[in-house]
Amino acid sequence: MYVLSAIVSLTLLGLFLGLLLGIAGKYLKVESSPVVDELEALLPGSQCGQCGFPGCRPAAEALAEGNAPATICPPGGSALAEQIAALLGLDLDLSDVKEPELLVARVSEDTCTGCTRCFKVCPTDAIVGAPKQIHAVVADACIACKKCVDVCPTECLQMHPVEVTLRNWRWAKPVLPEASNAVC
């Protein structure tokens, strides 16, 4: 008798809770998966489009669905790739990934007309200037999204590799000899 009432009550409880969950799932549905939000928070958020997606959120969605590799974001580099791989639990072998060459925009003083178009599109306010004044790029804030290059009417904005100085010079990775590739 006790067994029967226990089975009945637990079954009823189960059914009731299941119903509750079903209703909650329908009415309190979260629009996107939280992984996408977490991924979006990791990405730079500059909507630069270098990954081939229209912005950082679409890229995060593609990552969450497994349609994009962890190395998708060029400005983030391998540091971001490692974070993404850790979040999604992916195996990541970066030994073949070439670090993208770091670029920075620079204004050529000879051809700048002071049209102000570039600093209007700059997502990080890295360009300073005023109408009919020569503009300048704050190199530390530039994220190399190339939006300014696209809008410049005189092609005076060009991307240049970041200059190597004593402050950012680093030792190169030792080159592997052919023979030991397979072992270790």
Partner: protein, 495 residues
């Protein structure tokens, strides 16, 4: 009797072939001809570069201030000889990359005329703070190679209640013997410098630690330190890297400096013998740091020696003086062969950090024919920091830097013991140097990403504010227009 217990305190290390005999027996040469031009970099220390106070074309005297120190951790630069300032511009730095560094070029006039110095009659009457001020103003930095500003270290010593000052006379790097000769010839001056440092740090005890392969230096220092009960001179076993501060502190005091702490936090501070000598010169004679003893040695050097040279002397002039065979030189190294940096050419100046310049022949270089790792764990047993170099290198090879950091990459001191001992010639320390730089670069990238996010948010906020303002203005304009029309209509009806 208990000395065998003390040897247990030494962790890891190697006994490399010393190659010191060629220079250790010769007196320090002081007859180096004054170069026509001196190239004096504005950053010869850890911290912010110095800021020039002179103008091009100005005449300066030896010891005159050329550039003042900026910020808390920095050191000034003084004229190494008298003459005229030719230029202040970018010139190649004594660095493996030889990238440009801001440099003052001084054309010497040959008179080598000192600036009149203010000498204190009895420096022990000075306040301890005054000692560190004078040491800081003399541009003294750690001459063992780390080039940390000495005055900052003296101040930290006073604040942290140091109970032992260790004077590092280990000179464990092969080939180098500049500290050895300095201790043999100028022991009295070094001991005086040590007493001044003790006064400046308000500390009672100093231990001068000298490796037992320098018996003459040990004897000279013993004799010089004999009258002073506060200074003890001891011999320590010869084993690279005995001169590493943590190794030396562990051996001398038995205390271990915890990871991420400074030695001053456990009541110990360490200074090099060359630094003590510079302190003596600065306080007793009022002379700033403008020259140092440099070991020039290596297989390609025909006249190897220890020579006192003014800072800014080009290595090429030093090599001419010591008759270096250019054809035989396979590698030029600044510092010792274990931790020193290889330089791409000789057109670079000597600086405060230059303890030695080596011109090595091909036969003296390590075989770089890399073979697979045989997991012999030799590198583990020689690592003085207690790390597992082979595992760290394997992780770095596949760019798993986080894993390498977990294994203790940040505690690696780049001493080179692992690379030295590796029977398979794996460039272990080179991997760690690369990875350390890469870790810093990634931290900077991370920092930049955070900054970028902040900038983008700030911009979006501003755009939103501007749009809001425009909407409000538009509404106000429409309202004003309606009001005007209403008034106009009212007037018309009145008329």
């Amino acid at each position: 009797m208990l000395s065998f217990l003390k040897t247990l305190r030494i962790r890891g290390g190697v006994h490399a072939e010393e190659h010191k005999a060629a220079t250790a027996a010769l007196p320090i040469a002081t007859n180096f001809p004054l170069p026509k031009k001196l190239y004096i970099p504005l950053q010869q220390h850890v911290g912010k570069p110095a800021e020039p106070v002179i103008k091009v074309g100005e005449k300066v005297l030896k010891g005159q201030l050329l550039a003042y120190s900026q910020g808390l951790i920095s050191a000034p630069v003084h004229a190494p000889s008298s003459g005229v300032i030719l230029d202040v511009n970018d010139y190649p730095a004594p660095h493996p990359s030889a990238l440009p560094i801001r440099t003052i070029v001084l054309e010497t006039d040959g008179r080598d005329e000192w600036l009149a110095a203010k000498i204190v009659a009895d420096p022990f009457q000075l306040a301890p703070e005054d000692i560190s001020l004078r040491v800081g103003a003399a541009g003294i930095v750690g001459l063992g190679g780390a080039t940390f500003p000495t005055a900052v270290k003296l101040n930290m010593g006073r604040e942290n209640r140091i109970d032992t000052l260790i004077i590092n006379g280990a000179e464990c790097e092969p080939y180098l013997s500049c500290d050895d000769r300095l201790m043999q010839e100028r022991a009295g001056e070094i001991i005086d410098g040590v007493r001044l440092m003790l006064h400046g740090m308000e500390t009672d005890h100093a231990v001068v630690a000298i490796e037992d392969n320098k018996p003459q230096a040990y004897l000279a220092m013993r004799v010089a330190a004999d009258p002073y009960a506060s200074i003890k001179v001891i011999q320590i076993p010869t084993r690279y890297p005995m001169g590493w501060d943590r190794q030396l502190i562990r051996y001398v005091t038995g205390k271990e400096v915890p990871v991420g702490c400074r030695s001053s936090e456990i009541g110990v501070t360490i200074h090099n013998v060359g630094t003590a000598h510079a302190v003596h010169k600065a306080i007793r004679h009022g002379q700033p740091l403008v020259s140092r003893v440099i070991t020039v040695s290596g297989g390609a050097v025909k006249r190897p020696m220890n020579v006192e040279v003014p800072f800014g002397t080009l290595i090429s002039e030093l090599f001419d003086f010591c008759r270096v065979n250019k054809a035989e030189t396979a590698r030029i190294i600044m510092g010792g062969p274990m931790m020193g940096d290889s330089l791409p050419h000789t057109g670079l100046p000597t600086v405060k950090a230059t303890s030695g310049i080596l011109a090595l022949t091909q036969s003296e270089l390590k075989n770089t024919d890399e073979q697979p790792c045989i997991r012999c764990a030799s590198c583990v047993s020689v690592c003085p920091a207690g790390l597992r170099p082979l595992d760290m290198a394997n992780n770095i090879r596949i760019n798993q830097l986080d894993a390498a950091v977990d294994l203790g990459l940040k505690d690696c001191i780049s001493c080179g013991c692992c690379s030295y001992i590796c029977p398979s010639n794996i460039p272990l320390v080179q991997y760690f140097k690369y990875a350390s730089g890469e870790v810093i670069a990634r931290q900077q990238a991370q920092h930049k990403a955070e900054q970028t996010k902040r900038l983008i948010d700030a911009r979006n906020d501003r755009m939103e504010r501007i749009a809001q303002q425009q909407r409000e203005d538009e509404l106000a304009r429409i309202a004003a227009k309606a009001e005007r029309e209403r008034l106009k209509a009212e007037q018309e009806t009145l008329v």
